[in-house]
Symmetry: C2
Subunit: 361 residues, 2 copies
């Protein structure tokens, strides 16, 4: 086997090698049962145990209160953009949305197709390089919910605070920073996260939803998009994405073994500090985001001369530093450093960046 | 590694061992690139090549005409039950549905939530042990489409003919018999199939849809459920189920290597003949389905004395014959013998059934 590369992909993203090794060992014969997890009925005792253990481990990791359901669904966060208003926004009601970048804007635009959306705040005023202070938000009294994205993978902007929403349920797209540090689930009405960053492989979206928000779907909501149906069937109204769910379970186990989300926070803090410090200490590299709003997960940066971008990426790839190209909508570079990307990867990146600057800067 | 069992699960079902071995070998390092397919951006050159090859191989296998799109979506067939009327049934229009068992009834009930459904025919008159002849169907002139399920996994009832629908687009749930024998795609407006039987792992549904049926989604259709959006983005409007898509591609390759769907038909014919002949030649085992409507894929059978069911299943499991228990709604036994279940598995089953009858019958 050739050497595993350092993978800075924004998603689907790097997975812990230990998890992949275990999945590989079990791939044809899970625990001596003579079949792959992929070949198991989702209703078999073995698979139900796998699924329930994954849920319990996630509950343990995030200390999810018992009045929250944990759902393992399909369609990614983008399907949630519709599923949330179809379940939580009554006809004639209003939902507040905060726009801090491409993903929160996408969720807002989709919600508009199903009802009244109030743009409570927008990062546009600061070119999306910062998050507007809550004191400037225009919230709706009696809103059905308040939606925001805790981390914008493309802009590299992240909340380091939780909005106050009083009685209004707080709904958060946590796709790219769930499990990266401790959270207080009880502050939220609904948390959702596409799996392919910090949870597992793509094809799975995890929804953590307070029970009182379940059971209010519109008449026109497809059965498969009704949280009540999913909750009543323990996410098995139909065949779920069994292998993705299993692999996510292996990752939850791995996070627990590593020391849980508190340890993830310690590691992620060190990783982002190393990279931002290096960027800020250089005249050649730059990151435009306001320090307090900088993402720990996705770090976009630019070279002083964009004509060098190609050479930078080619040199990186030669050293096994993959997927550093920035999103096509913003250009430049981006290093995504989720839980499965170790400090060693960030050190290797910084070493390369320093050498490249010395040679070509 | 312990011996691989014979797996008669209805779905998620057995996968070809050769495919699992290849997936296992590539799991940590795909083609020397230093990362798993699960860790690849869906927009990377490598992954796009994987996805496009899978589509092309499926097109080759089924000789899909160029005026059909092939979509790789999430949510399973159950999500299609809503997605089809949301895209194909205009407000005020009528869709014809044929009820031949639990799955076609589920699709019909979901469609009723979105518009007018005409029950064109029902197998209820014959206790779902046969398929009503088309001469008895009550079709709607100018219907938006005519929907049926080519194979009922629970009842073990399968069409061995294609309904005539003239100008009305024919829509078929082919979840459990796609790729089991050649079909003429041009007879259909839309074919859909949950992957977890003859295509690959769960979490993926393949939709083959004629281009003129795309672009008519209702205003209230979630973006993720609009075929036009999926088609325009080559099923990558958001992150698809990348690993399931890849594994399905390996299975398409495997089917091609084996000789394509003509060879699958030859094998499946031999497998079902062996099992039905044995059942029909026994006074101890029985299958209630009319011979012409018997499924090649899912073969339910009963023991003369249901008090022996437990002993039968326990003895089967001891010999590595897994998942023979019938669906909870009908009881008895069921052997699902999809493409990946070889003649050797059916021979082993028949040998066991004969011995069990001799000892306990």
């Amino acid at each position: 086997m050739s050497k595993r590369a350092y993978n800075f992909c924004a998603g689907p993203a790097a997975l812990p090698e230990a998890v992949l090794l275990r999945a590989q060992a079990e791939l044809l014969d899970w625990h001596g049962k003579g079949l792959s997890v992929m070949e198991m009925s989702h209703r078999s005792d073995e698979y139900v145990a796998i699924a329930e253990k994954a849920e319990q481990d996630l509950r343990d990791l995030l200390a999810i209160p018992s009045n929250y359901k944990v759902l393992f669904l399909q369609g990614g966060a983008s399907q949630q953009f519709a599923q949330i208003p179809l379940n939580l926004l009554p006809e004639g009601g209003v939902a507040d949305y905060v726009d801090t970048g491409i993903w929160s804007r996408k969720s807002l635009e989709e919600a508009r197709r199903f009802g009244n959306v109030n743009l409570a705040a927008s990062g546009k005023v600061c070119n999306y390089f910062d998050i507007p202070a809550q004191s400037e938000w225009q919230l709706t009294k009696g809103a059905a919910y308040l939606h925001y994205a805790s981390n914008e993978t493309i802009g590299g902007v992240q909340f380091d605070w939780v909005p106050e929403s009083a009685e209004v349920p707080l709904v958060v797209d946590m796709s790219s920073d769930i499990l990266s540090r401790p959270i207080d689930v009880s502050r939220y009405g609904l948390i959702y996260a596409g799996a392919q960053k910090n949870i597992g492989p793509s094809g799975l979206v995890v929804v953590i939803v307070r029970e009182d928000l379940i059971g209010h779907a519109r008449a026109a909501c497809p059965t498969m998009l009704d949280y009540k149906v999913a909750a009543e069937h323990a996410s098995m109204y139909n065949t779920p994405a069994t292998f993705s769910w299993y692999l996510s379970g292996l990752i939850f186990e791995w996070v627990k073994e590593q020391g849980g989300v508190a340890e993830m926070e310690r590691r992620n803090r060190a990783k982002q500090e190393l990279l931002y410090r290096f960027i800020d200490g250089s005249d050649f590299y730059s990151n435009p985001v306001a320090p307090a709003a900088r993402s720990w997960m996705n770090i976009p940066f630019r070279l002083a001369d964009e004509k060098l971008d190609k050479a930078f990426l080619a040199g990186a790839e030669e050293r096994g530093l993959l997927n550093l190209k920035g999103h096509r909508s913003v250009g430049g570079m981006r290093a995504s450093i989720y839980n499965a990307v170790g400090l060693d990867a960030v050190q290797a990146l910084v070493t390369y960046m320093a050498e490249f600057e010395k040679e070509r800067g």
